[in-house]
């Protein structure tokens, strides 16, 4: 339904294109893209050229492929290991977060049960507590449970996406007609059966949207792994990149800025690609999610 609306241009009865508006938006796009352009340009440079050439244009020899090879093989290929870790955290963490949020959001939208309002209040309240400052208690708790320095220390906290819960909740209210559920109930279908056979399909665009945002959140997760992990073998890309950057410090310093930059480029490519490919889904999911508040 929303997808249909989406295809229409709302106020497009007389779309007269405006040069001025396009130029202003163009400037905004340049602002958004310039640093990414900078990143690309500089990932083509050697460490030496990085230090001696103009930042916004190519200079020195074209070392992009050399840099990529170096990035992937540096220190026995730890970058590849971090990439694998990140994928693990994303698949299990973001996948799990989406599943939990979908179930719970649907539950909140479609069932009236004791404590329903309290659930939402508690969830929203907890979002406001600074996660960074909770890191210490969380760390101490997890270490008592023997979870620190294991993938679980990253995955478990990633499983909670309050924003995802909210989005699915709002989405489910509109996209899953209550009459449909009533009909299924009359047919004697169990609630879970109904959920998996009927509701889940209707929820798909919302699900994909939440999944994408959860993927971004886990992919970009930095602070938690920084605290929880001491062994680089479990690092995700973000923490690994920062360690590479910090390696330029003190006795025995080994700056590898070219690899930091190339590594950054490689880190954002998969997520950008995911966004571009799944555009259609998440945009309609978002539209529906914002119908009401």
């Amino acid at each position: 339904m929303s997808a249909l609306r989406f295809a229409k241009t709302t106020s497009g009865l007389r779309p007269r294109r405006s040069i001025l508006l396009t130029v202003i938006m163009g400037l905004l796009a340049i602002y958004a893209l310039l640093p990414l352009f900078w990143l690309f340009v500089n990932s083509t440079k050697t460490q030496a050229a990085l230090f001696s050439t103009f930042g916004l244009w190519f200079g020195g020899e074209f070392a992009l492929f050399d840099n990529i090879v170096q990035t992937l093989t540096y220190d026995d290929g730890e970058f590849v290991r971090w990439l694998g870790n990140t994928l693990l955290y994303v698949v299990v963490g973001a996948g799990g977060a989406t599943a939990l949020a979908t179930l719970a959001g649907y539950g909140l939208a479609k069932f009236d049960f004791p404590g329903r309002r309290a659930v939402f209040a508690v969830v929203l309240g907890a979002v406001a507590v600074p996660g960074t400052a909770l890191a210490v208690p969380t760390f101490l708790m997890f270490s008592q449970l023997g979870l620190t320095n294991t993938p679980w220390a990253i995955i478990l906290p990633s499983l909670i996406s309050p924003f995802g819960l909210y989005l699915i909740w709002v989405y489910a209210v509109d996209s899953v007609p209550t009459e449909l559920l009533e009909a299924a109930r009359i047919d004697g279908a169990g609630e879970f059966r109904t959920f998996f056979t009927i509701s889940s399909r209707l929820l798909a665009p919302g699900f994909v949207t939440v999944l994408l945002f959860a993927i971004v959140a886990t992919w970009n997760n930095y602070f938690l792994p920084l605290i929880m992990l001491s062994d680089p073998a479990w690092y995700p890309l973000t923490v690994g990149l920062n360690q590479w950057n910090a390696q330029a410090t003190g006795v025995g310093a080994q700056p590898i800025y070219n690899l930091v930059i190339t590594g950054s480029l490689l880190t954002i490519i998969p997520i950008v690609v995911a966004f571009l490919f799944l555009q259609r889904y998440w945009q309609s999911g978002l539209s529906a999610g914002s119908v009401k508040q």
Partner: protein, 301 residues
Amino acid sequence: MTATSLTGRTAKQRGRWIGWAFVGPFMIVFALVLVAPVFYAIYLSLFREQLVGGNAFVGLDNYVRALGDAKFWESFLRVAVFLVVQVPIMLCIALFAALALDSARLHGSRFLRISVFLPYAVPAVVATLMWGFIYGERFGLVGNLNSLPGVDLPIPLSSEFVLAAIGNIVTWEFVGYNMLIFFAALRVIPTELYEAAELDGAGQYRVVWSIKLPAIRGALVIAAIFSVIGSFQLFNEPNILKTLAPNAITTFFTPNMYAYNLSFAGQQFNYSAAVAIIMGVATMIVAYIVQLGGSRKEAAR
């Protein structure tokens, strides 16, 4: 009629607890990874452990101390300024961009939309490292530009401008995200409303002002709340930039950095927990006020 209301009631009764089967898994994990640490933080905040002399129950001492701590208030004020300046700027740009996209008066709007959104996919670590390079006053882009004749940009990483420099990074990261939220909300405004306005002979600005903006009020409030929470929790960007601006960014630059450094550099876990709890409560209050402001506007209509 009687039949439906009857089935409705039984369904309701059956669903009385079944809802928990759906919400339960989320809440269990939620309790473990969010609620439990909050309670543990509250517990910690009532004690004081010293490097020499062990652990002692001190009641609310840590809270009293935090409320009289000049460093805490300085950091609090700083994020408050950040909030008051950066959030409106970012949301206004996002709103403008969303309205522009929605007006269908742009050339290449698909390209523009995705371009502005792309930075959201960039991890904060990468974004900060990148902007850090760009900000360099000698060899960074800022340095490059300053070496051109007639250009004299302010130094982004100096004490005066570092907050603005961080604001710029955060804006860059999230303007596209907020734009999409607004844009998505604009797309689902019923066409009938526009047709009615058309008949009334309302101009573009009138349509924006009296139809579009009120219609996406919900999205605006949600975006504002999440931005408020984000501002109060500001951490990654200043913490990573600190290497490049060691004096301009102090260890208590934001409340979150203060709490972090108290625990991890100063071993003051208990005091740090108290600071975290206070910030959590403050964030909730401000978020609540924003929400209240949003609903009052609606009531006024």
